[in-house]
């Protein structure tokens, strides 16, 4: 299942595999490029994840807050682009960590040349430089989601 932030609220798209139901690992994709975030989300959906997308840091925070209000825990992983309008990756990470824990792990996806610096800057668990292979992405997501809950 793929959930994305549409003009009037969250939109749900069916993915090409049946929903795996409760227990599916959840990933939030935060990237201002709608083509890229859709491709990523659909691919994740195919692999059995429940993926949602937000087009900038502010939208992502809104979605997370809404989830918490309705009693849902944070996603297992947040894929975070850094350069976005309205609210960038750095600000999102800072604001997100102000919320009470536990916090989802963050995997940074970025085109910047000094991508590795992002690890420390936003306390991410991994950095995936753009452009990446879908294979690389899935490996990274598998690695980062893991079995344990996020700190």
């Amino acid at each position: 299942m793929v959930i994305s932030e549409g003009p009037t609220g969250p939109m749900i798209h069916p993915s090409t595999t049946p929903q795996t139901g409760l227990g599916a690992r959840r990933v939030l994709v935060v990237d201002d490029d709608p083509v890229i975030s859709t491709y990523i989300a659909e691919t994740l959906g195919d692999e059995g994840y429940e993926a949602s997308t937000a087009s900038n840091g502010a939208a992502a925070l809104r979605m997370l807050e809404q989830d918490r209000v309705s009693g849902r825990p944070d996603p297992d992983l947040i894929l975070l682009d850094m350069r976005m309008p309205v609210m960038d990756g750095w600000t999102f990470a800072r604001e997100y960590r102000k919320l009470p824990g536990p916090h989802a792990r963050i995997l940074v996806i970025t085109a910047a040349h000094d991508a590795l610096n992002r690890l420390q800057e936003v306390q991410a668990v991994e950095v995936l430089p753009k452009p990446f292979d879908l294979d690389e992405l899935l490996d990274a997501v598998d690695r980062c989601v893991g079995a344990e809950t996020a700190a």
Binding site: I36, T43, A111, K130, L134
Partner: protein, 353 residues
Amino acid sequence: MGGEGQGSIQTILTAIVDGVVVVDREGRICFANRAAEEMFGRAPDGLVGDDFGFPIVAGSTTELDLVTRGEARAVEMRVVEMTWDGEPALLASLRDITLRRRAEAERQELFRAQTARDEAERALRMRDRFLAAAAHELKTPITRLRLGIQRGLRRARREGLGLPEYVEEALLMVDREADHMNRLVSQLLDMARMDNGTFSLRRSDTDLCELVQAAVARAQGSTKLHKLELTCPDEPLHADVDAEVIEQVVSSLVTNAIRFSTPGKAIEIELAKVDALGGQALRLAVRDQAQFAAEARVVEQLLEPDPDNNSGMGLGLVASRRMVELHGGQVEVLLPEGGGTKVVVTIPLEQAA
């Protein structure tokens, strides 16, 4: 004036450094001190009785251009009214300002040169900022391209759709070229940063055999037309280098070899430890069968980007050379017997202190 006072004044006038000339109402020189005579290039007592020759106005300060014994001089002249032998006359004091003028001219020239340099630097910085922004922009469509293709192929496979082989191969080729484009974009970015000094190496202990093997394997995966033959030394070869950068250099050289080499012929890649550059060094040689004009100047051109030169090796080799040089190494392009091109990269194993 009294006789004695006049005598003392004459002594003073004779001795002082500035030239002093007294000119009567008719414009004739009634007195000139030694400095003035030296300025006009005359013997002592040579000026008295002559016409002064220059416009002379009381209360004025003017600059004269004199030629003394073939040398041009600039002289500042100040004129005041006085009385000489009871008659009204004009006193001109003459100061040699040649050196002062020259120093001023030099200062202005330095200032002009500095301003020109500053502007050139500013232009360079602007160009680099633009390059970086453009390269960053390019990454988005390239990412979309690759993700789109990969997703399409995945879905087709997943749904058991048998895509015609030529379609799948076409898509894989597009993905590879997009990857190549991405590397060029990264190189552009790197060059911009090397220019403005913000590029720095991250060195770490690297197993070079492993690195070269991986890069060659990846490159081999991209072509069925060329055979890549790699020779590595028997014992492990480690060096303190920026692994990502060196990997880029190796990929770049091998990819270029593939692009230009005659299909069907082998591309030989050799990694060895050698004595060079004042110590132990690693040497990577990539020999292909690319046919270029066998002129020495072409070899030089391969190392410089030249939009008019059609060899197309352009960016990859230029960026590679810079990165190798940052490691204290060097890149040579040779035209070996038997045809083809051999690119040799030598990097010292020990970092220069």
